[in-house]
Symmetry: D2
C-alpha cells in the first residue's frame, strides 16, 4: 500500500515558528515526519526575518521556501503549482500569534495543525472556529497527550461502558521548572509563557492546566457545567498564575478536579489522571505512559499495556502502536498519532472524500474553543474568590 493512499505521495508540510531556540517547532517537525507520511517543505520559522532565514537549514528547508513571514509563505505557496504546494501548515509560534496565522492559512485553504492553546483568547477561538466551519480544511489541535495509545484505550473503554457511569475525574499536571523567576534571566521559554501579552490570560493553567482538563474530557466525554477555580502566583514578580486548582461539576453529576503547578521542585511533566466509574476505575501517568491501571472491586488489579493483550484488543485499534509490547513508545510517537489522525482526513479531503472534522479522533478546533473557554472561566472564577461560573459552551464540541 502506498503512502497516504490513494494520494501515493507524502504530504508537504510548512512550519510557522520553530526558529532557533524553539522547543515545540522541532517536536512538530519530528512528529509530523515520523511515519514517513509528510515531508517538511517550507517554513516561516521566525517573526525575525533574519532568524527565519538562518533557521531554515536546520530543518533542511530550501532557501527558496524559507519565508520571512507567514503572509509571504501563504502567498508564495498559493502561487506554486498544486503538485508542489504545501498541504498543511503547522503552527508553533507563541500563543498570541496562533490566531492570525491559523485564520490566514485556513482562509487560503491550507490544512492546519495548531499548537495549543489555540488562540490568545476566547473571542479569537470562536472566530477561528467559524472560519474553519466555513471552510473545508482539516484542522487539528495538538493536545498531544491524547495521542498516547493508552489514553485512546481509556477513551474506548469508557465509551464502551466498561467503567459504567463516570462519577469522578481527578487530573493534575505538576511541573517545577518555573519555581524560580527564570523569566528574569530571559530564558526564552519562560519569558513568553509568563508574559500575559503573549501567553494569554492564564499562566500555568493555560499552559498545562488545559492539558489536564482536556485529558479528562477526551477520556470520558463528560460534559462540563460549572467550574470554581483558584489561581495563585507564588513566585514574586510573576504576572501570571504558576499554581492553581479547580473543581468542575459535570452535567451528569460527576465531580472533576484539575490541579496545575509549575512550582513543584523536581517535577517534570507529572500529568496524571484517575477516573472513577460505577463499574471500574482507571489511572494513568504521562511519565510512565505505557502502563494503565484498571481496577474493579473483587477482581485482580490489571496493568494494561500497549498494544493491548487480546482480551482488550477490541477496545482499541492497534493503529497507533508501531511496536510490539515492551518496546516503549513515548512522547514523539503520541504526538505523531495526532498527526496521523489528521493526515487520514487530509488524504480524504484531497481525494474528495468526506471526513468528520468535529467528531475526529484527533483533538480539533472544537477542543480549541473549549480550551480557551476553560481558561477564560478559570480566570473569571479565580477573580471572584473562586465563585462558580458556567463551563458549558454550546458552540464547542458536545
Amino acid at each position: 500500500m502506498g503512502i497516504n493512499e490513494p494520494l501515493n505521495r507524502k504530504l508537504r508540510m510548512a512550519l510557522v515558528g520553530g526558529g532557533q531556540g524553539s522547543f515545540i517547532g522541532r517536536v512538530h517537525s519530528i512528529a509530523a515526519c515520523l511515519d514517513n507520511r509528510a515531508v517538511l517543505t517550507a517554513g516561516a520559522l521566525s517573526s525575525n526575518p533574519e532568524r527565519a532565514k538562518s533557521s531554515a537549514p536546520d530543518y533542511g528547508i530550501e532557501d527558496s521556501r524559507a519565508y520571512t513571514s507567514y503572509q509571504e509563505l501563504i502567498e508564495s505557496e498559493l502561487a506554486l503549482p498544486e503538485d508542489q504546494r504545501i498541504d498543511f501548515v503547522s503552527i508553533a509560534t507563541p500563543n498570541h500569534v496562533h490566531f492570525e496565522v491559523a485564520q490566514a492559512a485556513v482562509k487560503a485553504g491550507f490544512n492546519v495543525v495548531c499548537d495549543k492553546p489555540m488562540t490568545y483568547d476566547l473571542a479569537q477561538a470562536e472566530q477561528l472556529l467559524e472560519t474553519v466551519q466555513n471552510s473545508d480544511v482539516v484542522f487539528a489541535l495538538s493536545h498531544n497527550y491524547t495521542g498516547y495509545p493508552l489514553v485512546r484505550q481509556a477513551r474506548a473503554m469508557v465509551l464502551a461502558g466498561e467503567l459504567g457511569e463516570i462519577n469522578a475525574i481527578r487530573s493534575r499536571y505538576i511541573q517545577g521548572w518555573l519555581r524560580d523567576s527564570i523569566e528574569s534571566d530571559d530564558q526564552k521559554q519562560a519569558a513568553w509563557r509568563t508574559d500575559p501579552t503573549k501567553s494569554g490570560a492564564a499562566g500555568a493553567f493555560g499552559d498545562i492546566g488545559t492539558h489536564a482538563y482536556n485529558l479528562g474530557r477526551f477520556m470520558t466525554g463528560l460534559l462540563p457545567e460549572q467550574i470554581s477555580c483558584h489561581l495563585k502566583t507564588y513566585v514574586p514578580g510573576r504576572r501570571l498564575d504558576d499554581y492553581g486548582t479547580a473543581v468542575i461539576r459535570y452535567e451528569n453529576g460527576a465531580l472533576g478536579t484539575v490541579t496545575a503547578s509549575q512550582i513543584s521542585h523536581g517535577r517534570h511533566c507529572g500529568l496524571e489522571i484517575e477516573i472513577d466509574g460505577t463499574k471500574g476505575s482507571l489511572t494513568w501517568h504521562q511519565e510512565n505512559p505505557n502502563e494503565m491501571s484498571f481496577r474493579r472491586n473483587g477482581k485482580a488489579h490489571q496493568i494494561l499495556v500497549p498494544p493491548p493483550e487480546p482480551e482488550y484488543q477490541d477496545r482499541m485499534g492497534a493503529g497507533v502502536c508501531r511496536l510490539p509490547a515492551g518496546h516503549p513508545e513515548a512522547f514523539f510517537e503520541a504526538f505523531a498519532n495526532i498527526y496521523i489522525g489528521a493526515f487520514d482526513d487530509m488524504v480524504k479531503r484531497a481525494a474528495g472524500q468526506p471526513f468528520d472534522g468535529r467528531d475526529s479522533i484527533y483533538t480539533n478546533c472544537y477542543d480549541g474553543v473549549e480550551g480557551m473557554y476553560f481558561i477564560q472561566q478559570c480566570v473569571a472564577s479565580s477573580g471572584q474568590d473562586a465563585a462558580w461560573v458556567p463551563l458549558r459552551h454550546e458552540a464547542a464540541r458536545r
Copy 2:
C-alpha cells in the same frame, strides 16, 4: 534498660470496644503491645454485655476483668490497688460512643488512647479538650498514619526548613470498598460508618478525609484559615457522603487540596500526599510507606527510606524504626509508634515528671478538636454550595 524505665514494668491496658466483628480493636491491641511495653489487662469489649464477656478470651483478658460496660470497667479498676489497676484506656468503639467513654476515663484519671474521629461532633470535642486540660492525663488520638517513620521524617525536614516556605499541600485518601451499598447487607463496618447517628456529620470525609487533612497539618505545621468543600453521595440511598474534595487556604498563603473517596473501584488505602516548598518537594504514599520522594530542581531525585541514610539522620531519630533498612515495617508498626510516644508521656506522668501533652509527637486532643472542626466546616461549606467558611479554631493546637 528496663521496660518503661523508671517504671520497670509494662503498662496495663484496658480496651473499650473491639468485640467480635471489630477491626480496629484488634489493631489497637496489637499496636499497643507490639513493643512489649504494655499488656492488655482489662476490657469492656462490647455494649452488648454478652458479647463483651464472650469476646474477652479472644484477647486473653481474664474473666474477672472482662466488664460489661465501660462504666463498670472504670469503677472496678479504680477500686483495685494501684499496682494492679490499668494505666490507660484504649477506645475502639463506633464514633458516637468515643466521647462518653473518654470523658469518664479522663475524669477517673486514666490515660486515654482514643480512635479517631475523637468524638461525634465538635461540641463534644471542645468539651473533652477542656476536660483533658483540667486533668493531668496523657491523651493520644490515633491518627495512626502520623506514626510512619517517613511521615515523621517529612515533618522534621519541613520544620528544619529543608523545604523552605510551604506553598502547596495536595493530599488524598482513595478507597473503593463502599462502591456498592454494602450497608444494605448489614456489613458491620459499612453499617455504622454510613449511619449519621453513629458516624457523625460526614461519611468519607469524616472517616478518611480527616486523615488526609491531618497528615498535611502534621507534616507541615501550616495553620488553616478557610475551606471550601464539596461532598457527594454517589451510591443511591446512602445517607452520608462517599466522595468529596476540599480546597484549603492556609494563613501563609499556601493552598491545600484534600480529596476523599470510598467509591473508587479496586482502591484500598490510597492515602497520598505531596508537599511543595520553595526549596524542595516531597511525595509519600501510604501503601508503599517505606519510600518518600525528595526533589529539588537541579539535583537528582532522591528516594528516602527508613531508617534514614546518614546524610538525613539528624532529621529523624531512629526511635521509630525497629529494623534495618530493607526490612519493611508497615501499618501496625506505625500505629505502635503513636502508642510508644504516648507511653513515654505516661511513664513520665507516673514518675511525676512533666510532659507536654499539647506539642507532643503523637497526635492528641488538640488534633481531635481540629479534626471535628474540619468535619463540621466541610459539611457546612458543602451545604452552602461550597462557600468559603472559616477553618481556624483558636482552641485547637496552633
Copy 3:
C-alpha cells in the same frame, strides 16, 4: 474463641540469645508475641552471664527466669511445675551455637523455633533432624520470608497448577551493608557473620543465599538435582564469600539461578524471585511485599495483593492476613506467620492431637537440613571451579 484453644492460655516462650546488641532476638520476641498467643517468660540472653542478666529487663523477663546459660534455662524450667514451665525455646544466637541449644531443648521436650541457618554444618543438621524425628516436639525454622501472605499465595497457586509445569526459577538476595570491611571495626553483626568459626562454611551464601534458594523451593516444591556455584570475596581481607551465583538443575528439567550479594551499594534486602511456568509466571520482591505480578500471555498483567481478591481466595486462606487490603503488613507480620503456624502445632501437641511436622506450612527441620546441604554443596562446587555437584538430599523434605 479463646487464645490457643483448646489450651486457652498463651504459650510461654524462652529466648536464647538476643542480648544487648542483638538484632534478631528482638525480632523473634516481637514476632512471637504479635498475635497475643505467646508471652516471653524466660531467657538465656547471652553467653556472657552478666549480659544475660542485664539484658533481661529489656524484655520484661523476671530476674528469677533470666538464666546465665541455656543449660541452666533448660534444667530450671524442667524443674518448674508444668503450668509455669515454658512451652518453647526460640534460638537467636550466632549460627555456631544453634545446634547445641536446639539439641538440648528438643531432648528436654521443649518445642523449638530456631533461627536459620539451622546449624553450623550439615553433620550437625542431620544429627538434629534425627533428634527431632525421635522426639514429639514441634520444630520450626525461621525462613521468615516464607511467611509473607503473597509467598504463601504463590505456593498455593503453583501447587494448584495455575502456573503449569515450572521451567525456571530466578531468585536473588542483594544487599550492600558489607561493601566495606566493617568487621574490622568490630561491628557486631558483621563480625560474626564474616567469621567462619561462627557463621559456617559460607558468608553471603549462608546468610542470605539460603533464603533465596529456600524461597524458590517453598514456592514451587521443585526437587533439586545438581548445583554449580561460584563464590567470590570482593572485600580485601574478608574470610568468607560476600558475593556468589549458582545454577541449579531441578529433577523435572527446570533451571534455577540463585545470586547473593552483600557488596551492592545502597541495596538493603533485595530478595526477588521470578517463576516461569508453562501456564503463567510470577514475580515478587521482598521490599515491596504486598504486590505480586501474575502474568499470562494473552491476558492482562495482574497485580495480586493481600488479602486476595475473591477470584483468588480459594488459593490462600486469609489466615495470615491481619488487615484489610491496603493496610500494609510487612516483615514482623511475616515473621509472626512462621510462629503462628508453629503455635497451631504446639497447641495440637499440648492437646494430645497429631500434627505433621514434616509437611508443615512453616519451614522446619527438613528445610534446615536442606539449607545446610545447600551451603555445603555450594562451597564444594565453588572450590572445584564451579563443577556440578549433587543437590539431592534423601533425608531432607521431599
Copy 4:
C-alpha cells in the same frame, strides 16, 4: 547550522530487507529518518522480487530505485552520479543474509548499519571485520539499547570512575512470546528465529542474550575471560534454545551473569541490568528507560533521569536527548541515537575528515565479532555440560 554540516544535505539511505511482514525494517527506517538527517531513497526490500517491488510504495521509495536484489541495488547505485547515489545501506534481513549483503556493501564503499547479530556465525563475522578494516566505510551495528540516554550516562559514569572498580554485572532479557510453538503456525517472526539455518547457532541467546551481554560490556568496558553457559529448550519440537543462563568471568575478577528467556509468560522486553562497583551501584530497566537508580552506601538513593540534572551533566552530553525531562523518549529515539552517532562519522568521512570506527559511541563491527564469538562460546559451553570456555577474542574491541 545546516543538516549534516558541512555536507548540508540529508544522507541517502538504502534499506535491504524490510518488506511486508517485517518488523525491524520499519524500525530502521523510522529511526534513521527521525532527526531529519537521512532520507530513505532506495531499497531491496525482499529476496522475493515481487514483494521487493510491491513493498516499495509503503516506504515511499520510487519504483526506479526499488531493486529486486541487493546485488542489483549495489550495482545500480554505484552507477548513479555521486550526488544521487545512496550514502549508506541498512541491513534488516534475517540473520543468515547479513553477511553477504554487508560484505558487498562495504566492498562497494557504502557505509553500513547492520542489524544484530552481525552475521550467521563467527567465521563470517571475522571475515567481515577484516573487510571493514580494509575499507574506509562507517560500519554500525544496531545494538540499539546502547542508544538510550541513561545507558550512555551509565557508561560515562563508569568510565569516569564514579562507580569505582566494577565487581559484578547482572543482566537479563526476559520475554514470553515464544512460550508456545508459534513457529508451527508459521508466524513469520518466530519461524526464522527458531530455524537454525536462518537464525544461527543459538535461539534466545543469539536473539536477546547477546543484547544483555553487550549492554554490560558497553556500560562497563570490562573485558571477558571465560564463560559457562546452560541453554535449554522448553518448548517441545523447537530446534534452538528458548532459555538460558551464563556466568562470565571478567579479566579484572568481576563476575557477570546473563540470563535470557523467551518463555516467561506475559513478559515483553524485560532487559534489565545491575552493576556493582566499589563506589556505587546502578540499575536500569529497558521497559522504563527514563529512570536509572544510582546508589551509594550512606547516601540517599538517587533516581537519575534524562536529560541529566546539572549535577550529572558533565557525565553525559545532552546530545542524545531531544526533549526536556519528563517528556519520555523511548525505543525509536534510542535506536535513532545509534544512527546519529554513525551519521556523524559518515559526514566526517564524506568531508574527508578522520573518524575512529573502532572506539565509536555507536556499537560497531568489533561488537559484532564479539557478539558472534559470545554466541559460539555459549553454545560450545552448553554442549559440554556448561564447562568453562574462553571468552576473549583478541581481534574484537578491547
